[in-house]
Amino acid sequence: MSLVWLVLTPFLGAALVAAVARLGRSHAAWAAGAVTLLALAWLLPLIPTAFAGSTVLQRVGWLPSAGVDLVFRLDGLGLLFALLILGIGLLVILYARYYLSPRDSMGRFYASLLLFMGAMLGVVLSENLIQLLVFWELTSLASFLLISYWQHRADARNGARMALAVTGAGGLALLAGFLLLGEMVGSYELSALLAAGDVIRAHPFYVPMLALVLLGAFTKSAQFPFHFWLPHAMAAPTPVSAYLHSATMVKAGVFLLARLFPALSGTPEWFWLVTGAGLATLLVGAFTALFKHDLKGLLAYSTISHLGLITALFGIGTPLAAVAGVFHIINHATFKAGLFMAAGIIDHECGTRDMRRINGLWRYMPHTATLAMVAAAAMAGVPLFNGFLSKEMFFAEAVGVSATLAWGWLLPVAVTAAGLFAVAYSLRFIHDVFFNGEPIDLPRTPHEPPRWMKVPVEILVVLCLLVGIFPAQTVEPLLSVAAAGVLQAPTPAHDLAIWHGFSPALWMSLIALVGGVLVYVGRRPLFDLYERRIEPHLDAKAIYEYLLGRLFAFARRLTGWLDTGSLPRLLGLFFLFALILGAAGLASDTVPLTGARALLPVDGISLLATLGLIAAALATVVLHRQRFTALILIGAVGLTVALIFIKFSAPDLALTQLSVEVVTIVLLLLALYFLPQESPAESGTPRRLGDGVLALAAGTGAGLLAWAVLTRPYQTIAGYFLDNSLTGGGGSNVVNVILVDFRGFDTLGEITVLALAGLGIYAMLEHLRLPGPARDPQGRPWDADRHPAIMASFTRLLLPLALLVSLFIFLRGHNLPGGGFIAGLITAVALIMQYLANGVAWTQVRLPGSNMHPLIAAGLAIATVTGLASFAFGHPFLTSTFGHVHWPLVGEFELASAMAFDLGVYLVVVGATLLILIHLGAMHTASHEAPSPTKGDN
């Protein structure tokens, strides 16, 4: 489990460091160093195994259902990177101890650094791609913390955000690519993937997968055109740059290329995409680096350029190129980390990084200058330094591959040009900073840094020299085993000698060296050209910002269009989308709209009734602003519907419809009385037209749907009820039997709801008093006589008749159209007529029982007791029974227990309806002028 602990150690260490930092500044650094050493200790025992060429796999169960275990893998490549991460990490920890100023929080710095270290170790030691991705994104997050370490600086915040946006985006693309890879191979584990290269390359998804994976790798490794975030990330403290931008974070991208090399490489797509991006990056980076006045800016572009070189090497795809790529990873990490640290020392001691002001430092810090010069020579690729060796190999590979291509000669030319610029910018770094006259206006007087700040640089520089002079004795074993890890095959024969004879590569190196010096000497016109002509146009960051701006603009437009907060608009959109969906659904159905069922013949009366219905509905729409007229027209619609029910032999429904219609119209009239008689016109003609079209379309859709369903034969549930109504429920009025018997429980619920609704309205209206309008819209006063005598007299006469009708309807309900519900409504209407015609006060005096609460309670109680009674006979709740009695005069009469239940329904309906209507009426202040001192409510 040592690999698991190796990766976990920095994470746990981060917490430790954050805790220890309270004790003192050095404690944090010591703790961080100790943690890194501990991690190294976990690694050490495994090194011999890795050097023997075998792969160490260690597995912990983690997410089996997603095909993800926590598996760590250590082979040559992983080992190389782990050593780089831990080794350079250790140096950076030491360096940062002296670099950070007393104002900076040590704990936060070291904790973030260790987090990053852990994440990076996770990336290079992961066997599973998903797990690798998790760590990959963690490096983005941790680097975000590190780059934004100086939070007070706006450039740090923006740089951090940009780095996170670009690399985070790449990470997501990578996720998609990994998912595809996993689908192709059936496993996310590298062991399987690396062995399945042929399957992957032959897969139809190879190209999209490759594009996605490369997107991830290129964004992370700052490849053109995604390179722009790296220079902005230079706002980070220099130790962070030395760590992230030399050895670790940006190397994650090329690590991925190396890791997946056996699985993905070897196709034309791979060659052109990877080599193309690499070469473009190499050239753009090398060229731009020369013109940067910021010390770290120069190094940043140089890093970009070297990453391009490594990428191009992997793109070339030959085993030897891969060896060269790995070699350059090592070399670049050592000399660039040294250079960044040197740049940090200079920045630290001079207070600026502007090379136009930092001059002639040789005099002030010769020791540092020597170190920087060695590292810069390695960067330039001067013989006897390590950079020379891998660059030579690169040149040789470029020449080799150019022979196989049309226009191939361009490749060595481009590569040499890049080498030439590398020499020029390295020369500038040395000459501008350490010679070139006297410093100009520096904030501080430069001097040598503390002893221990230089030690890390010294170690790195010594490494550069050792590798450069004795490559075979120093780096060869590690390089071999790492390259074998990349290739998943034995390392091809290669010769790490300094002298290869007069090969083309040597000539190219010579041209680059001489040319580079010449370019540097003649740099003035080039600088002018660059600053006037090229810099304003060659700015990938502008593209990033442009794209971001476009995205924002689009988002703003979209939001503005959709998010207006206007309800009519929302409703309109709602219907529109429903229509589109419906149309799509209709179009996708292959069966005809009209079903097999034969249509009924159209007779004249039905036609007339339907036309009347349509006319009334249309008139309602047209006249809807005149509320009373519209209400009456709606009433007409309701009545026509009742007629249609009669036509289709549903007298019961017609009766219900009729009585409900009357009650609701009265209810609405009472409510509308207090509102203006006309609704204001709120929308213009275009809007109404649009809404009209939408309404027509929606109506047509609904009509079509109804048509489609009704023209198809289907089995209704009516048969069951028709068969069982008389035998089971003792009534031939199926509707009523359903209400009181089959679905008696539902009805009990419904009347309860009705009762509660009545009480609710009562509670709300109890103390509400509104003045009614005194004049009509034309300004004419209303008639002072509210209760005309003729009308009052006639309604009084009507009352007993109406009550008789309702009793009749109630009694016959079980077998013939009628029942408690309808009877209740008729009684309610009859009573409400008295209120309307005679006034609330008058009626209340004469109707002492006008407190409706007991009525409602009685109704509910009767219905419930009827239901409970069946328990007494050992039957379930609401079981009904019936028998026949002989009444004198009337004759045979059927008496069902359901009738008692129906009585409950009747009482509740009467009570609740009256309660609501009376209180709506009683809202009017005029209802209370009467001499009666009643409270008006009950």
């Binding site: 983690w62 259902s65 998790v134 985070g168 979209l558 799509a584 659904g585």
Partner: protein, 477 residues
């Protein structure tokens, strides 16, 4: 007639009874604390009953109208937990705004009951019943702050649009009834399989539109921003969490359980809606300056992502979607919980600007919020990453490559606005209006647990993933 078996519905019966008790307690006691305690106890009790009656099979009750299975049990348990947490978070907020009354608790309990019925529905009627019970409770909850114009407007809009969506759903159901002759999902699926699928797609669109509204998926998402924004934060907190679980459940019941033979039809509709949601949700969220509104739009995007899991049409996809919705509820509680926690009397911490420099004043709260935001953005090691990962995996596994790519692209845009919140909290200077959390220590602890849960579940997602997979496998044929 099969004998009446009440055991599967025991939790529902329990909640109903206790909700009525809370109503009575409210009527006779002047102490809302009683109602509060009783409500929490009810939810805990319901959890206990659900746990005790949980079985690994499908048990039907009430003549096939009601089903009790493991998927339902898990979703119910998470719903109770979400409700408990939401009510706890809201306590201080509500009492500062004179809403800490029995009505709130009763409505929450009825909403929970509605969700439970929805989750266990195996019949169009039961499903609709639950849906309406939930919806009506939510409409009222939104309008609870009667003196707030914004809240009243939000409630009005919610009601009108919600009624319309319910109408659509009913319409679709009645068409399906007309086509298949049954309202019972098991019979519907049998009828559809036998090929009476004529015009099915036509009816299906209405069902899908209705469901889409309840989930808050584009193009039926329009209510979400207005309602999330307008409702009192404590109510938004509730609406944004548990009801999503119930909405997921009815999608599973209706589309997967009931209409699976028509999978080709609804897959396409879900795909279009998912893409639209991802696009509209993520893009519009960028432009918001109000955190509640931003989260509302992000909800739309998340629900779109959820649909991706469902339309992958595999056990892996369904369980990924279930995992997604559960973890989303957790994250949503954390985010809105923070809004509620940081608000105090007369001040709503709902604008993005209010969170500026939170780290300087309350580093721990900022850390909790940052964890929730990063998780919502789908960054590892937080649980949001695994939610997205499993959905994407299922999607790629089902061959919906282009959808996976679109989902990734929009997640990327989505990450942007979550990171903006992190940036505001950590990098910007504190706002003049200092945030003074008014909540008690227990709420703070709960909130911390909520935030840590996002991290812990991200480090060890396996148990929950396995649970979801098991629940789906035992519950979906």
């Amino acid at each position: 007639m099969t004998p009446l078996n009440l055991t599967p519905a025991l939790p529902e019966i329990f909640v109903l009874a206790l909700a009525c008790v809370v109503l009575l307690v409210e009527a006779f006691s002047k102490k809302p604390e009683w109602s509060y305690t009783l409500t929490q106890l009810t939810l805990v009790g319901a959890g206990a009953i659900t746990l005790l009656t949980a079985e690994a099979g499908k048990v039907y009750a009430f003549n096939g109208m009601f089903v009790d299975d493991l998927m339902g049990d898990v979703l119910k348990l998470v719903s109770y937990a979400a409700a408990i947490v939401a009510v706890a978070y809201s306590r201080a907020y509500l009492s500062e705004r004179a809403m800490f009354r029995g009505e709130y608790f009763v409505l929450v309990l009825f909403a929970v009951l509605g969700m439970m019925v929805m989750i266990s529905a195996s019949h169009f009627l039961t499903l609709y019943l639950g849906l309406e019970l939930l919806s009506l409770s939510l409409y009222t909850l939104v309008a609870l702050q009667r003196d707030s114009m914004v809240a009243s407007e939000a409630a009005m809009k919610y009601f009108v649009l919600g009624a319309l969506a319910s109408g659509f759903l009913l319409y679709g159901m009645s068409i399906l009834y007309g086509m298949t002759g049954s309202l019972e999902l098991t019979k519907v699926v049998a009828a559809v399989e036998q090929g009476s699928s004529s015009l099915l797609a036509f009816g299906l669109v209405f069902v899908v539109a209705g469901l889409a509204f309840k989930l808050g998926v584009a193009p039926f998402h329009m209510w979400v921003p207005d309602i999330y924004h307008g409702a009192p934060s404590a109510v938004t907190l509730f609406i944004g969490s548990a009801p999503k679980l119930a909405a997921f459940a009815i999608v599973m019941r209706l589309l997967v359980d009931g209409l699976h033979p028509a999978v080709g039809d609804w897959q396409q509709m879900l795909a279009i809606m998912a893409v639209l949601s991802l696009m509209i949700g993520n893009l519009a969220a960028i432009m918001q300056s109000n955190l509640k509104r931003m989260l509302a739009y992000s909800t739309i995007a998340h629900m779109g992502f959820l649909l991706l899991g469902v339309l992958a049409d595999s056990y892996a996809g369904y369980s990924a979607a279930m995992f997604y919705v559960i973890t989303y509820a957790l994250m949503s509680l954390g985010a809105f919980g923070m809004v509620v926690y940081l608000s105090r009397a007369g001040f709503e911490a709902e604008n993005l600007d209010d969170f500026k420099g939170l780290n300087a004043r309350h580093p721990w709260l900022a850390a909790v919020m940052a964890m929730v935001m990063l998780s919502l953005a789908g960054l590892p090691p937080f649980v949001g990453f695994y939610a997205k990962l499993t959905v994407l995996q299922a999607l790629v596994g089902a061959g919906w490559l282009w959808l996976a790519v679109i989902a990734v692209i929009f997640s990327l845009i989505g990450a942007f606005y979550y990171l903006r919140v992190v940036k505001l909290m950590y990098f910007d200077a504190p706002h003049a209006n200092d945030l003074a959390p008014s909540g008690e220590a227990d709420v703070r602890a709960l909130l911390s647990l909520n935030g840590l849960g996002v991290l812990v579940l991200g480090l060890v997602p396996q148990p929950l993933l396995a649970l979801c997979a098991y629940a789906i496998q035992t519950s979906i044929q």
